[in-house]
């Protein structure tokens, strides 16, 4: 075990503080509007803290470090694209401005106004399915980090995951978005401090010049055949790294994430107005570079460290190398701070995601099927029960599912189950008057084909993630255009 008494004290103080703040907010929850979107009282700086904390989870740290380990700094090119996408959307208000002005709680709710009740239900189903499958691996990856960084016995992983989820569940189910906002704020502070401290310590330990020289020599060695194949560590356009095809897909993908990813959009919907949401996007944009690049730096440093110390020890992979490296690097006190920071990252993401998907299931899958509306008390009870159900799903799915390929590829492809189609529905619904519910239905179904094929057949047949992902966007757009134009007279009649 790598943790000393001081580390434990830091971790326990952080956990107790978070739990107390989260549970304390439950007294302000009187209805689903308070529970799901915090009464729409969120302002720009709190929005920034919440968005940043939710979108930087322990799972993010793990997969971005894996990208850094395998692709060097070039692995963070996705963060740069994400930053540009946030600036574009925050600068123009593309999709998010009309979405916030519509006054809806979730994206599918807008589809009922624009298309039909059926489309809302179907979109809700896809959004929830894609979101839950995407979130399914968070706990396992988070648990892997904690076990490797702290030196806990590996069989403790399930207990660590369960305990962490129990804490998050308690305050999310009781206080909803209000608890999530306040705990996100605390978690943002702890996580931000931990990331800065860790990055400085990693640079000091490995040395900047040594890092650059070692990454470069690994690449040169791979080209001459004297060391295993490696990707270009600095140039993401090189064919050994992401290559052009993958990066072009990522440009479309990240614009879709910025406008469609329900956990990001839920901050837009909780914002005081559209202008607050746009400012929140612009100010958070550069944060997304560091979200990929700083853990990527730790991963690249882990690669150099193990290369210079006799190779990766048995049992470690490109995914678990970084936490193991941090466990050997960080001194007493700092390790406690970093573990608290990573717990913060995990908890803020889990709480935000559980709340978001529970809200979608309640608002868009269950509510449209009810003959008469539930009482406010029953609505709250049902949403809380859904949060509990999602927690149970996470626990069991996280234990048995084995990813086909890298964590990052799994996450992008599962997100694409609905990103491609819902993005198409949003853009067409808001900006194309000829879009109709026939086209919307075709876009939803066709958009899910590529990602589902990757998940079911990705082990048996080699399907490139960019092919599965970009086919999702192309098929959804095709479905919308052909479906809408082919049925325009039928839609006009109905």
């Amino acid at each position: 075990m790598n943790l000393a008494l001081l580390d434990w004290i830091i971790i326990v103080v952080y956990l107790v503080g978070c739990l107390a703040a989260g549970i304390g907010m439950r007294k302000f929850v009187h209805g689903v509007e308070d529970f799901a979107v915090a009464g729409r009282e969120m302002r720009v700086n709190l929005g920034m803290a919440s968005l940043a904390a939710t979108e930087l989870g322990l799972v993010t740290v793990m997969y971005t470090a894996q990208l850094g380990y395998e692709k060097g700094f070039a692995g963070a090119a996705i963060g740069v694209i994400m930053c540009l996408a946030m600036l574009l959307v925050g600068g123009t208000g593309f999709v998010i401005e009309p979405l916030r002005n519509a006054g809806v709680i979730t994206i599918p709710e807008l589809f009922e106004k624009r298309f039909s009740k059926r489309i809302r239900w179907l979109a809700g189903l896809f959004v929830a399915l894609g979101g839950l499958l995407n979130m399914g691996i968070y706990l396992r990856l988070g648990g892997e980090f904690l076990v490797h960084a702290t030196g806990l016995p590996p069989h403790w992983l399930e207990w660590v995951m369960s305990g962490l989820l129990g804490l998050v569940l308690l305050y999310t189910a009781l206080g909803g978005m209000l608890s999530v906002l306040v705990t996100d704020y605390l978690q943002f502070l702890v996580m931000g401090s931990g990331i800065v401290v860790t990055s400085v310590l990693v640079l000091e330990n490995i040395g900047w010049d040594n890092l650059l020289a070692s990454l470069h020599s690994a690449w040169v060695g791979a080209r001459s055949g004297s060391s295993p194949p490696a990707a270009h560590p600095f140039n993401p356009f090189h064919r050994s790294s992401f290559g052009w095809g993958y990066l072009v897909w990522q440009i479309v993908f990240q614009i879709a994430v910025a406008t469609t990813w329900q956990t990001t959009v839920s901050r837009v919907l909780a914002a005081k107005n559209a202008d607050t949401a746009k400012r929140m996007y612009r100010r958070t944009a550069f944060y997304f570079v560091g979200r990929f690049l700083l853990p990527g730096l730790w991963g690249a440093a882990a690669f150099v460290y193990f290369t210079q110390h006799g190779g990766l020890p048995e049992g470690l992979t490109s995914l678990t190398a970084m936490p193991h490296y941090l466990g050997t690097l960080l001194p007493v006190g700092f390790l406690g701070l970093v573990i608290a920071a990573m717990l913060a990252a995990e908890m803020s993401t889990d709480s935000g995601y559980m709340l978001t998907w529970a809200t979608v299931i309640y608002n868009d899958i269950i509510t449209p099927t009810l003959a008469s509306p539930l009482s406010p008390r029953s609505q709250l009870l049902l949403t809380r029960a859904l949060v509990l159900g999602i927690a149970m799903f996470l626990l069991f799915y996280g234990l048995w599912y084995e990813m086909p390929g890298d964590a990052w590829d799994y996450l992008t492809v599962t997100a694409n189950i609905y990103l491609g189609s819902v993005f198409t529905l949003l853009v067409a619904g808001l900006y194309w008057p000829s879009a109709n519910s026939f086209g919307a239905g075709a876009a939803l179904v066709l958009g899910a084909v590529g990602p589902v094929a990757f998940l079911l057949l990705g082990r048996k047949y080699t399907i490139a993630p960019e092919v599965a992902g970009s086919s999702s966007f192309a098929l959804a757009a095709l479905g919308m255009i052909v479906g809408s134009l082919a049925t325009s007279s039928k839609a006009a009649e109905s």
Binding site: K27, F28, H30, D34, A38, G39, E41, M42, R43, N45, L46, M48, A49, A52, F73, A74, A76, V80, L178, L181, V182, Y185, F188, L189, G192, S193, I195, V196, S199, V200, L212, F234, N235, F286, Y287, V289, G290, L293, L294, L297
Partner: protein, 47 residues
């Protein structure tokens, strides 16, 4: 001359560390005030 990609990543890495450090203090202060304001509004509404 240095590889332009290395210069780019160096600027991004040190810029990100500085930006994260700044945000912790700036957002820590301003979002803290917004939480107090939020609690005041909700408290008034629940009475």
């Amino acid at each position: 001359m240095k590889d332009p990609f290395i210069v780019f990543w160096a600027v991004m890495i040190f810029g990100s560390i500085a930006w994260y450090g700044f945000l912790v203090f700036y957002v820590g202060f301003s979002a803290g005030r917004e939480i107090l304001e939020l609690v005041r509004v909700l408290d008034k509404a629940s009475r």
